[in-house]
């Protein structure tokens, strides 16, 4: 009884927090100063059509580095918790139709993932989405092929390599230009081309590889080695 009252009080308290947000809410008409500066700088200084990409990679690049670190720690945590119990590995039976279809589809999914993270500065998408799509491709492989083995050492190598290269590009920004993770170490190029916007496509591709290999490791560990 007391428990129910406490739950009701907690939920009502949460609603009270958000009541002023709803009652005083008005749709804004104009960008605030910081956002207008980001939009303007992204188009004129960085040459990036997708403003969200330039905010993630450049203006808030340090946040993204920390976020990738959190993802790495989560991978390590899952690996430590679930290591070494082979007896409850999920077994699948072979299925002719799914196996044939997925061998075509996995290649298409990988190409789509690479397209998403290399065109992150031109179209919606980028490293995080591309990495997730690549991890889903490996997941389809795990679900369809009975003897599919995904090597942990290759995953670890790709993950460490992209992490080191990401930080290395950041430090090159300090040495060659004015600050950490500055994309001005490469030429800007023509606005809207694939090879443009300085180092932004390179950094986002590295993030894509890192996220893809980390999520694949989480999936392999959760399935059972």
């Amino acid at each position: 009884m007391i428990k129910n009252i406490a739950v009701l009080l907690a939920v009502a308290g949460l609603l009270m927090i958000f009541l002023p947000v709803i009652s005083g809410f008005q749709e804004r008409d104009n960008l605030n100063e910081l956002a207008a500066d980001y939009v303007d700088g992204s188009i004129n200084d960085l040459g990036t059509p997708n403003v969200v990409t330039s905010v993630i990679v450049t203006y808030r690049g340090l946040d993204t580095l920390g976020e990738v670190t959190v993802l790495f720690l989560a991978t390590v945590g899952v690996g430590l918790l679930l290591k070494g119990n082979r007896e409850d590995m999920i077994k699948i039976s072979p299925l002719e139709l799914l196996e044939t279809t997925s061998s075509v589809l996995v290649a298409l999914i990988m190409v789509l993932g690479i397209y998403i993270f290399t065109h992150g500065h031109l179209t919606p998408g980028g490293g995080f989405q591309g990495g997730v799509v690549i991890a889903s491709g490996f997941l389809l492989l795990m679900l369809s092929k009975v003897n599919a083995k995904i090597s942990h050492s290759i995953m670890n190598f790709v993950e460490s390599f992209s992490g080191v290269a990401y930080v290395g590009i950041g430090i090159a920004g300090i040495v060659l230009t004015i600050g950490f993770l500055n994309p001005g170490i490469l030429p800007l190029g023509q606005f809207g081309d694939l090879f443009s916007a300085g180092a932004i496509p390179v950094i986002y591709s590295l993030i894509g590889l890192k996220v893809g290999s980390e999520l694949t490791s989480i999936l392999v560990t959760m399935r059972g080695e």
Partner: protein, 82 residues
């Protein structure tokens, strides 16, 4: 037209959230939670952020459901309840 779509999708999402809490079967709860993520990505698209919509479509519908299913399978091996 857009407000009609938002209200329709919103009603379905709230119903799916309530259903996910009160279903007896865990598998049905997981599927309902997947429906919430699927429809949320349409809401993000209407609000003008296709990047977030793409992330939610790929993570919410695919990977979250699969991770829940892996954990569910490890927790109850062979026990079947609908």
């Amino acid at each position: 037209m857009i407000p009609v779509i938002i209200i329709g999708l919103g009603v379905i999402m709230l119903a799916a959230a309530v259903a996910a809490i009160y279903f007896k079967s865990l598998l049905a709860s997981i599927i309902s939670a997947g429906v919430i993520s699927l429809l949320a990505s349409v809401i993000y698209l209407i609000l003008g952020s296709p990047d977030v919509a793409m992330t939610e479509a790929s993570i919410g519908s695919g990977l979250t459901t699969v991770i829940f299913l892996f954990a569910l399978h490890r927790v109850r091996k062979g026990k079947s309840d609908d």
